[in-house]
């Protein structure tokens, strides 16, 4: 274990406001941390890179997604196994042990019976990212009672790690830095007294009669049975992986995972990085790594063209970062952590060309090879799904008002197909308005606003050639009201 502190103290954009200093135990050693950090971030900050070992081959597992979606960080916390320590806040005196393979059954004496509480509400919003928060605000302003459940202990979803100013129009928060938007939205939410927020709250199932089970963890754990009149599920997305030798070595991380460590917790994910994929996420993370003081050796792009927007590429090229098109990663090298990585050129069929290997000294390989909608809730609820490559994978079909085939269940944001933050705000608002209208809010402004948003979304924003792919995808996912009726009746 190194004694170096990987926390970032001097950053051009973010002033890291760290909480009170506390201590906890990691495999019986005392670790210092700051309140507000996740357990994983606190461990990473003192140089720990392995958080569990795989069940089958005992391979070391590092941090990957950092948002509770990949399971590479399962640890035993205060006797309770299978805790995802990337979304578990540090607390004074807790005892954390890494898991080697499958854990022992927990000591039942340590687990208290949970109370089950029934909650009735007009609208249940699942997910506290841009789409969910916007939906909740919209509905609450129209007089609906709203319950938000969010699996992370902070609100804001992926906004909290976006340090760059957003593009788009000012009316949809363009020009503001992502984390500032998250702060602003959270403040607005807290002001609405008809919104109840549950954090560390996982919507685990959709039951008969439209009841949603929610496991609320944290200091006051409770089993909620929410009975809403309508639901907006904005469950977001998860990062895709990539197949290559040693792709599971600690140090191989999702680009979004590195953003979380670096920008949410102020912990440097590595010192020398290689980025795989030149979409906007890959380009932006390269710039952010440099801002945090790390070196970016290169960005590899398998296609002949840069994937993301030119302005993002120009930003990093200006500081000398190379973008190697027609290149992919074929190997990571290292025993317990990435020490080197190999890039290779690819032919027209994306096969690596022998003899073109280039070796890089890196301790970080960041994958930004796309996102896939997180639609587990919709599948379980029985929504009719469709595989749409342009949207990143499987996603529910929906009407233009964003209602799925499960009546009263609306969708918005990346779960509805990977797009931009602007469209997440807009879809969130449309879903909120639609739910309100369905529940009988009969205001002319609500209808008018919804039409205006739909018009802007489809006839202006999505007409930009650089977002064509997602527009095509969203078209494929959208069906008419009549068609949806037929699908619902099984015709």
């Amino acid at each position: 274990m190194s004694t170096r502190d990987y926390r970032i103290y001097d950053h051009p954009i973010i002033d890291f406001r760290r909480g009170r200093k506390i201590t906890f135990y990691f495999e019986d050693k005392v670790i210092e941390a700051y309140e507000g950090e996740s357990i994983l971030a606190a461990l990473y900050a003192v140089g720990i890179r392995i958080f569990s070992w795989s069940p089958k081959l005992s391979r070391p597992r590092g941090a990957f997604c950092m948002i509770g979606k990949c399971s590479s960080c399962l640890a035993t916390v205060d006797g309770i196994p299978n805790k995802r320590i990337c979304i578990e806040p540090v607390r004074e005196g807790i005892r954390v042990y890494r898991q080697k393979g499958l854990p022992e059954t927990p000591n039942v004496k340590q687990i208290e019976e949970l109370d089950t509480v029934e909650v009735e509400t007009d609208l249940l919003v699942i997910g506290g990212g841009p789409a969910g928060l916007q939906a909740a605000l919209t509905a609450s302003k129209l007089g609906l009672n709203v319950v938000i459940v969010n699996d992370h202990y902070k609100l804001g979803g992926q906004l909290v790690k976006q340090t760059h100013r957003f593009f788009g129009a000012r009316q949809f928060n363009g020009g503001m830095r992502g984390f500032k938007i998250a702060e602003m939205l959270e403040e607005k939410i807290r002001k609405q007294n008809n919104i109840k927020v549950y954090t560390q709250a996982l919507a685990y199932g959709y039951f008969k009669g439209g009841i949603v089970g929610v496991a609320v963890r944290g200091p006051k754990p409770v089993n909620l049975l929410v009975k809403p009149k309508a639901i907006v599920a904005a469950t977001g997305a998860s990062e895709k992986g990539l197949t290559f030798e040693n792709n599971d070595l600690p140090g191989v991380m999702g680009a979004g995972g590195a953003q979380t460590l670096m920008n949410e917790y102020g912990v440097l994910p590595g010192e020398k990085a290689l980025i795989i994929g030149s979409g906007n996420v890959g380009l932006i993370i390269a710039y952010q790594l440099m801002q945090a003081g790390a070196k970016v050796q290169a960005i590899a792009e398998i296609l002949p063209k840069i994937g993301g927007w030119f302005v993002h590429a120009a930003k990093i090229r200006r500081y000398g970062v190379k973008i190697l098109t027609r290149h992919t990663i074929t190997k990571a090298i290292g025993e317990t952590h990435v020490e080197k990585a190999v890039l290779q050129m690819v032919d027209e069929n994306f096969r690596p060309v022998p003899g073109t290997e280039k070796e890089f000294d890196v301790d970080l390989v960041l994958l930004s090879v796309g996102l896939t909608p997180d639609t587990r809730f919709f599948s379980q609820a029985g929504a009719v799904m469709k595989w749409i490559p342009e949207l990143g994978g499987l996603t529910p079909i929906r009407t233009r008002y964003l209602e799925t085939s499960v009546e009263g269940l609306y969708i918005a944001g990346d779960a509805a197909g990977i797009e931009e933050a602007t469209t997440a705000f807009i879809e969130g608002e449309i879903a909120g308005l639609s739910a309100a209208i369905k529940l009988g809010v009969d205001k002319k402004e609500a209808y008018e606003r919804r039409e205006k948003l739909l018009d802007y979304l489809w006839n202006e924003y999505r007409m930009s050639p650089v977002v064509e792919r997602s527009r095509i995808g969203k078209l494929k996912a959208t069906v008419s009201e009549e068609e949806m009726e037929k699908i619902r009746r099984g015709l």
Binding site: H11, I13, I306, A314, Y319, T422, V466
Partner: protein, 161 residues
């Protein structure tokens, strides 16, 4: 190879797309150069300009500058999310002034000597900071640079101590 393959826009591509101000306008005093050649859905610069010098009909159009309306005030420089806006002043005979966005540590200070970078990050000379203003953590830095490098320099680097 074009800018979509390289991440670098050449003066020729800028010229062809009509993104460079006319020579006479450049020599009159500070004027904006917007290196945003792609139809991305963004119009922050249009709203940022107090003189309505930047126009766009649809949000994804390429920003167009009315050169006679632009005063070179630099308000738009630190507000562009793409960090794609620069102001060039060629009115002095022996030097050029370039205003560019900067978001690294250490903070730029007046009088500091900096490395001048081209669009590929190569050091192409030294410059001196003559003005530095900050807007929501993004600096708009004005540097004095060799006159013949006004179309080449697009970045500065202040080494960390």
């Amino acid at each position: 190879m074009g800018f979509k393959e390289t991440g670098v826009i050449t003066p020729r591509e800028l010229e062809e797309k009509g993104l460079l101000p006319p020579k006479e306008r450049l020599e009159k005093g500070p004027v904006v150069i917007i290196e945003c050649p792609e139809e991305i859905p963004c119009n922050i610069c249009v709203d940022a300009c107090p003189f309505n010098a930047i126009i766009m009909d649809k949000i994804y159009e390429i920003p167009r500058v009315q050169w006679d309306k632009c005063t070179g005030c630099g308000t738009c420089v630190p507000q562009c999310p793409g960090l794609a806006i620069f102001v060039v002043d060629l009115s002095k005979p022996d030097k050029a002034l370039l205003t560019l966005p900067y978001e690294f540590k250490p903070e730029p200070t007046k009088g500091a000597e900096v490395d001048l970078l081209d669009r590929e990050g190569r050091v192409v000379g030294k410059g001196k900071i003559v003005n530095a203003r900050v807007y929501d953590k993004t600096w708009a830095v004005t540097v004095e640079i060799p006159r013949d490098k006004w179309l080449e320099v697009r970045g500065i680097w202040i080494p960390r101590k």
